[in-house]
Structures are given as C-alpha cells and as structure tokens.
C-alpha cells in the first residue's frame, strides 16, 4: 500500500521541476555584505507580518490625523509622487535599443526597465508580479512572467521572452503589449510543453523560452530551452523547429541566441540540469543559413579551460548571453566571466576572474569580479552591457580599453 501511495503522490507532484538555474541563482543571491559569520538578526516571517501590519496601521492613523489637521486639506492634497522605480533584483536579459537606451529584464521582480544614456531608469513593462495578464493594454500595466531574453525587431518593437509565461511578447511603438508566440502557461501540465509546429506561433506551446533573436530576413528565432529546440517564426507567423538531429550529442539545451552580420545564428547550448531533463553540452553552436549546425566552442563537457587556444578545444561553463561586436568577434557570458571568440576561432576571457563578487569597478574587467552574468548586449561604440543576476546590477565593459563600471542597480 505504501508503494501505491508513494506512486500516486509522485504522479501528482512530479508535474513541476525547478528552474534549471535555481541553484546558481540561490548562491548568487546570498547577501554579499552579510557573511555567515556575521550574526544578523532576521525577524521570523510571522513576526515580520505582524510588525508590518502594526506599522502600516500607525502610518494610516498618522496620515488621517495629518490631513485632518488642515495643513493639507483633503480636497486639495499634495500632488501624487511619481511611481518609484524599484531597484534591480535579478537582471537577466539585455537589449540595446535604437535610441541608445539599454533595456534590461528583471527575472525575479517581473519588470522590464529602460536605462537611458544619462543613467536614469524607467519601467517599460511589468507590474512587479510575475504573471501573464495585460495583453492588448499598455505594457506598463501588464504583468510579465519571469521575463528573460530581450530583442528589438527591425521596426523598433521590443520583444520579451516570458520564461515562465511560456510566451514571446511584443511591445509596439505606442507601448501596447501582445503575445506573438506561445499559447501560454499550460494549465493541464503545469510547466508548458511542446506542440504547434507547422501552425500559428500563437497556438504553439513553448517551454521556458530564454533567448530570442531576429534574423536579417525578419524571421524570429526562439531558444525553446526546456523543449530542447530552436523554434523559428516566419513572416506569416507560422512556427517550426530547426532540425538538430545531426548535432553531436549530448542533446542540446538552447538558451540565448545571436546573429552575426552574415545572418548565421549562434546558439548557447546550456549546462545540463539533471533534475529537470537530460542534455546540455556547454557549447556554442553555429547554425548556417541552410540549417547546418557546427559546434564552434566547447567540447560537450562543462568547465573552464582553453584561453588562448581554439574555442572548439576549450571547455565552457554554462553559456548564457551572446553578442557580436562590429568587428565580428563573439562575446558570451559564461560562469562568472565574459569570454570572446575572435574571427579566427581563438577564445579569450575579457572580464571576470571566475569568482563571484562585486569588486573591480573602475579597473580592468579582466581583474573584476562578476556575479551571475546572464544577458549581454553591445552598443555602438563598443560598450558591452552585462546583466548580473547575482550582483543585482548592470555593468558596462568598454571594449576599447577593457574598463568596467556599474551603470544601474
């Protein structure tokens, strides 16, 4: 009988697996200034809820008394303050906009932010709750669900991969948001699944889409990570999968994507995550116009080695965001580093010591610590932006001299 109960409970609860990056995110989220040796008093959750309730009540009463005092008559109260822009929690995807602003998704907070060239920041999408509501309305009033990869369409629309919402969403020039691929969270199976090839992209099921990129032809490509596929949405809105059957094993986990100037697609094949599914080779895979797949970096085993030599002989830690500079060099986030593959296929580390941390601003990126770099983007002029999920910030590496600084927190 015990076995029957165990089997039924497993059937009912095995419908979900944790995000493949949960472990690394947890370590990345540990407070940097509060090591385990420092005794920090943390209120128990129930106590904290009670304390907040008491404080809110006191604040409410004080507010009522203040208004009734006549200093600010209730009818003509002070003008409302602008909505504060929350601090970055877990920056994930990066895209450089046509206006020179940098756009960053915040995976855990459920926002997409715009960082203007002057450093000011505003909310582009999201309400701070991870959900999928709001299509057809303004993006600033709509929820996004674990927003991840970002990219711009040729007409200036901003696209967002909703990792948990299992959708690709688009914000148009007027700020309205719609879904252009993915039928959304699968209510019967919990975590999304695979379907829809050959049909409309909006009816297809995606599973944890991470990277998105437009081909020069205008087709949209999606790293449909948990389905182990790269999906292609053509100009008529129909979706198909790339054939990866000839790719050497292991089965890939396609995450972030980028196109080179010649229109070849590059795919970050992520690290394996045994709890969720098999596969993942810590590689960078090039997909030609004709769909031929070639491994250009990584051996199929994860690790860190090979700087100064051919990228195909190097081992990589979990590769994430990809971006090309104007000279055709490919940069990517991997472990707590940014590495570069030049046009001759030689790999080099350009930022990050490999140790998670915050140190190094104002100095050379190669001597700096990065903390969970995920998405990256390169702006004209050679400025490489890094979304540091664990560091709760966006940093900028000046490629001309290798100096790194923080541009948003």
């Amino acid at each position: 009988m015990d076995e029957l109960i165990r089997s039924r409970v497993h059937d009912a609860l095995d419908v979900e697996q944790p995000d493949m990056r949960l472990r690394s995110r947890i370590i990345a989220s540990l407070p940097a200034d509060e090591s385990a040796t420092r005794r920090v008093w943390v209120p128990d959750g129930q106590w904290a809820v009670g304390a907040v309730a008491v404080l809110l009540t006191i604040a409410l009463l004080a507010g009522v008394l203040y208004l009734r005092s006549g200093v600010f008559p209730a009818r003509h109260g002070p003008p409302p303050l602008p909505k504060p822009v929350p601090a970055l929690v877990s920056p994930e995807g990066i895209a450089v906009g046509p206006d020179g602003s940098v756009y960053v998704s915040d995976y855990y907070a459920g926002y997409v932010f715009r960082i203007r060239p002057d450093g000011t920041r505003s909310i582009v999408a999201g309400t701070g709750t991870n959900d999928e509501m709001g299509d057809g309305g303004l993006a600033i009033n709509a929820a996004v669900d674990r927003p991840s990869g970002l990219t711009f369409a040729h007409n200036g629309d901003l696209l967002i991969a909703d990792f948990d919402g299992q959708r690709i969403r688009r914000i148009d020039a007027l700020g309205f948001i719609t879904t252009i691929a993915g039928s959304g969270f699968d209510k019967t199976q919990g975590s999304g699944s695979f379907s829809g090839d050959g049909g409309p992209a909006t009816s297809a099921k995606l599973s944890q889409p991470l990277g998105i990129a437009f081909a020069p032809t205008g087709e949209l490509f999606v790293g449909d990570s948990r389905n182990g596929r790269v999906r292609r949405v053509d100009l008529t809105g129909m979706i198909t999968s790339l054939d990866s059957s000839k790719l050497p094993r292991p089965q890939w986990i396609p995450g972030y994507l980028a196109f080179d100037a010649a229109g070849n697609l590059y795919v970050a094949d992520r690290a394996p995550y045994p709890a969720a599914f098999v596969g993942g080779g810590c590689r960078i895979v090039k997909v030609s116009h004709k769909g031929v797949m070639t491994v250009i970096a990584g051996t199929g085993r994860c690790g860190f080695s090979g700087d100064g030599g051919p990228a195909v002989e190097a081992t990589l830690e979990d590769p994430n965001g990809l971006a090309f500079d104007s000279a055709g060099n490919l940069y990517f986030a991997t472990g707590n580093r940014i590495r570069r593959i030049d046009r001759k296929g030689i790999i080099t580390t350009v930022a990050g010591t490999g140790v998670a941390g915050d140190a190094g601003d104002g100095g050379l990126g190669i001597n700096a610590q990065l903390d969970g770099p995920f998405g990256i983007g390169i702006a004209p002029g050679g400025f490489l932006y890094i979304a540091e999920g664990g560091g709760h910030r966006v940093r900028m590496l000046r490629l001309s001299d290798g100096v790194i600084t923080t541009v948003a927190r």
Binding site: V9, E34, N130, T188
Partner: protein, 178 residues
Amino acid sequence: MTGDTDFQLIRLAKAGDRAAFDDVIGPLINQAFRLAFGMLHDRGVAEDAVQDAAVRAWRKLANVRPDTPIRPWFLAIVANQCRTAMRSRWWSVVRLDRIDGRAGGEFEERIVRGAALRAALRSLGTDQREALVLRYYLDLPLDEIASITGVPLGTVKSRINRALVAMRPHFEPMEALG
C-alpha cells in the same frame, strides 16, 4: 553530512565561503524544491520559498554545530518558509488553482487523478500535508521527519495516519475507482 570533508565544508561556509555553502546546500536544493512544491503547488512560489530559505540558512549557519545533520536542518527552514508563504492571502487567493484549472477537455486519466490529488492535498491541514509530502514524496524516514517538523515520532505517525484517512479515496487501487 557527517564526514570530515563535510565538517570542513561547513566550517568554510560558516566563514563566508559561498562555494562551500553551495557544496553543502546545493545537493539539497532539489529535495527542498520538492518539499516546497508539495506544500505550495506553484513552481514560482516554491522556488522563491527555497531561495528565501537558503538565504536564511546562510545567515543561520554561524549557529550550527559542526555535527548537526544538515538535511533535516535545512529542510526544516524550507518547511517554515512554506508555512510563511501559505499564510499569505495573496498566495492563497491568486495562485491556488493555477495548475489545476481545467481549461481544456482532454485529460489523461493520470493528469486528472494528479490534479484531484493535489486538490485533496491542499484541503489537508498544513501539518498533515507537510508530513505526507515528507514521507511519500521525499521518501524520508519517520525519525528524520520528526526532526524536521520538531515534533515527537508519535505525532508524526498520527499526522500521517490522519492525512491518509482523509485522502483514502485517492489512494484506492485504480480498478476501485471505476
């Protein structure tokens, strides 16, 4: 977690070494997620609970004796975090039926039964749900469950028994379901 290497890892983690903390806690993350998902039935909320629990563990580690078994210690923190999350009105109102909403008409029998069982699990009291998940989903021995939940062995047994009685229709053999 009792070998010399583990003692050394805990000592390093207590000194603020993140990599050592990862070595100590990392292997337990999957079990922690299973416990949290079993309690909360929402992946995102469960992940948040595990993450919050890990941060608490990081802060509490200084108080842990080197010979403390880490798994029950950490799972107890996760269980407490789940109880906190379940107290949240927002969670109970908004997230409860996200997975089980029956939008379509085509259900595999197993999926239907799984959804029904999850709904039945949610109808249990927190203590009973916790005990059932620890016993039949994490497959933990009774004495470790007692350690995690902080109650005597007899109480664990009675919680599990009461939970099984409440959920008896869901644990009948398939043919009995008709």
